[in-house]
Homo-oligomer: 301 residues x 2
Amino acid sequence: MKFKVLGAGSATPVVGRYPSAFALNHENETFLIDCGEGTQWRMLEFGVKHHKINHIFISHLHGDHFLGLVGLISSMNSLGRKQKLTVYAPPGLKEIITIQFKYQETRLEFDLVLIEIISEEKSPLFESATIVVSSFPLVHRISTFGFLFEEKIKPRNFKKDKLSEEISLANIHQLKQGKDVLDENGKIKYTSEEYTFSTDLPKTFAYCSDTAYSESILPFIQNADLLYHESTFLQDKIRRAEETFHSTATQAASIAFKSNVKHLVLGHFSARYKEIEPFFAEASGIFPNLTLAIGGTEIDL
Amino acid sequence: MKFKVLGAGSATPVVGRYPSAFALNHENETFLIDCGEGTQWRMLEFGVKHHKINHIFISHLHGDHFLGLVGLISSMNSLGRKQKLTVYAPPGLKEIITIQFKYQETRLEFDLVLIEIISEEKSPLFESATIVVSSFPLVHRISTFGFLFEEKIKPRNFKKDKLSEEISLANIHQLKQGKDVLDENGKIKYTSEEYTFSTDLPKTFAYCSDTAYSESILPFIQNADLLYHESTFLQDKIRRAEETFHSTATQAASIAFKSNVKHLVLGHFSARYKEIEPFFAEASGIFPNLTLAIGGTEIDL
């Protein structure tokens, strides 16, 4: 998987910082996560293709997380899209989109499926042969969800020097799944260990924006390879963070430490901070494997 | 007046071209005309201040003309605005904004007044001591309006060398309005012509986006000092222009010529044109006093 930042500012505009939007490439597909105002232009700038996006995940209905959606869907339509698009979001988005398309007199030439996220448990939203995407509740002023992208165990590779006429395709398939092949008498004939080797381990990406500090999210994000966590404020504004149900850099780093993730990306920096380096200084003492999200940042998992 | 282009692209995004948004400075106020996605960032980039904006004019409810509005109003609110804001738009905008603020749980701390434009005649929307703003119908796929900004006759300047103890402040005020002062017997005591001199003539700006070629708009924009007219296509795509109720560069220049305006600005260029210079080449043969709108373009009237 590859995680790409399109924008990681907060609601109030700052020159050169754009609101939340992230692309997660997995195999030949791009998952779009949040879609703040102007996301279409960031996609052009950072080379994210419309036609690779089939699933969009909206964390909540604050404008800086979804105001780019109607424009993006309209452009997909006018550029000739035919393939289905599924958008996952808290209740309300359907009403918001429907009313705008009514007045625009837009008739979509593709299926737009809107899935409402309501569960207060970890809840699978989408599953393919290679990945499961789930939502889980965050703690914010309005109903807000995090997303967990969990790759499935990848098939092992068959060792070419072990190929022979004896071994059937069915045997090979079974061995690649990690299962040993037995003979008619139930005795082991080929072991997966001997005939195959492991490829990449499956990776997990967890997305948490926006949220107050809450240890309630720890079970959902435990051991993730990459965690994006909002960090709207520095620790000197912890009161403001609490009032607005946002997190500080210290709090985000604590969550990363306590959940034992491998790598933390911070974003959603308040417009009050002209420079973002102090977020690194504050958080890296607690959690050193840290990246600050700015437009164009890419992280391979 | 000063006209400033924040964005003059059309709906499909192009790197470096942004959707319709224009600022018209008049005295100490800024009128915002259309508010496409990302207008907040263009305002920052081109130095347009929130607090100078009290009136926003939305030509129609296609996304590339208003999708920046909810974000802008939200930011005004979170930045502490208290002063009233009036938005003029075709019916529907109120419903669109209301539903989004409902789900965002936004409570505005200032008065937001939404005025519906419905008249199919030239119709005054706003009047101050120094300017009248009117709407007039354009010809597009959905209900769309042009706007006319007409300065009122400006007070004349009093000649300093004519100041004396005899002349009262009331006399001076009257002379500056262009009226002569009479004595008790009704005879002329001071003439405005002798005691004052003229400042700038009142100027008129006409805004036409989006519209098919239509001579029905000529009476509304006649003799304007500056005309912004959309020019989505070049003349080789006149069929496409007709189908989509847009104009070509040739058509926009013809409208400028026939309405006897002094200066024409073209914009709303389709994303299919990677370069916009051909719009100049095509239109300037018909109407030479021509500017192509790109972000940052400023024209003094």
